[in-house]
Subunit: 216 residues, 2 copies
């Protein structure tokens, strides 16, 4: 497709596409004449990735670092994975669902709750938050499927059970304080534990026996 | 203690303490004369809470809303919990560990990794991130204990296993892209699932049978 078609297809403005080309975030198209290039699926996909990374609050230089690792992961996949993920902030902003993006295929919170046998009311703020996060993943081309969601939900429910079992009952005030701080302070710990577990599993899977893994 | 001692004990400047008193975030001390009040443990604790909520990026008006719910949870604990937690942003900034804060009792990543039988290297960014999140929780008076950490880690490892099992293997580039997007897009989903599970469990525990739970 021509650059005008790439613009129409992705919704990324021409000036922005040109900027990404200049900065090396977007790979060049295939030149068909001195003034014309054609672009393909890889360009659509890359623009989707850049949009998503910008949408979760990453600066252009961080996006550049990630794109460089995707284009050239180097000899150690373990190190490339570690370097790419560590470019993300500890708490990425939740992706914003862009209206008009194609998210029809997304699993939404209603089906999630039915799948889990949960009664959750749609007016709960947490349910709306779940819907937004699911829509953002879909819009970025990484929709959750039912299997992954059931797996994640099972484990988060088990953690939530531990939390509720340990909620102080001596006063409503103490319970509210526990809920607020337990949400705000333990979410970053949960995210960090998952990242450590990823590194741990990736090391045993990808690193040669006995080598001490190192992430720069 | 006198207000000067409260300042010395908490490290919160006098002007800030006065501002919190005026705004109603900090409850008044007990007046011992026309110009003197004494303060106690509840004031120290409240200043710690305010500091923590400010540290994770909450505005004064949001902190005020949470403090109001702690001081006056109202007749439905379920609704107070929901309203307080929904005042938090979907992705609270990870708390910053303030140097000098008393976190000696905190469990650190080295003991965590030993506890879990993980080999994790201290130079992994994820391990440093875990340390910072653990220190922030400790500094806020909500340290993780070994039991909670083992519980959380077990479940996050199970989720990480699912993630790594589904990592594309056709190219290193695809694996890096999957790792970046799967971290950035699925962390908010994981956090939302935990919040929905909390609401679900709190509803069944606290709400009268048959009542449709409502969080404003």
């Amino acid at each position: 497709m021509l650059v005008s078609e790439l613009v129409a297809h992705t919704g990324v403005p021409l000036a922005t596409v040109k900027y990404y080309l200049r900065e090396g975030l977007l790979m060049p198209g295939e030149a068909t004449s001195a003034t014309r290039s054609v672009y393909g699926e890889e360009h659509v996909r890359r623009l989707g990735l850049i949009k998503e990374l910008a949408g979760i609050g990453l600066s252009i230089s961080r996006i550049k670092a990630i794109v460089a690792l995707i284009d050239n992961p180097g000899p150690s996949l373990f190190e490339a994975l570690g370097a790419a993920v560590s470019t993300l902030p500890p708490s990425p902003e939740p992706g914003r669902h862009r209206p008009g993006a194609d998210v029809e295929s997304s699993i939404d919170s209603t089906s999630v709750l039915r799948l889990l046998g949960w009664t959750g009311a749609v007016n709960w703020p947490a349910v709306r938050q779940l819907d937004q996060a699911l829509a953002a993943a879909s819009a970025a081309g990484m929709p959750m499927d039912a299997e992954r969601l059931a797996n994640y939900a099972l484990h988060m429910r088990a953690i939530a059970e531990f939390d509720i079992d340990h909620m102080p009952r001596e006063s409503a005030s103490a319970a509210v304080e526990y809920a607020v701080l337990g949400t705000a302070l333990y979410e970053p710990i949960i995210a960090a534990l998952r990242r450590v577990a990823h590194a741990e599993l990736a090391a045993s899977l990808l690193e040669p026996e006995g080598k001490v893994p190192h992430v720069p």
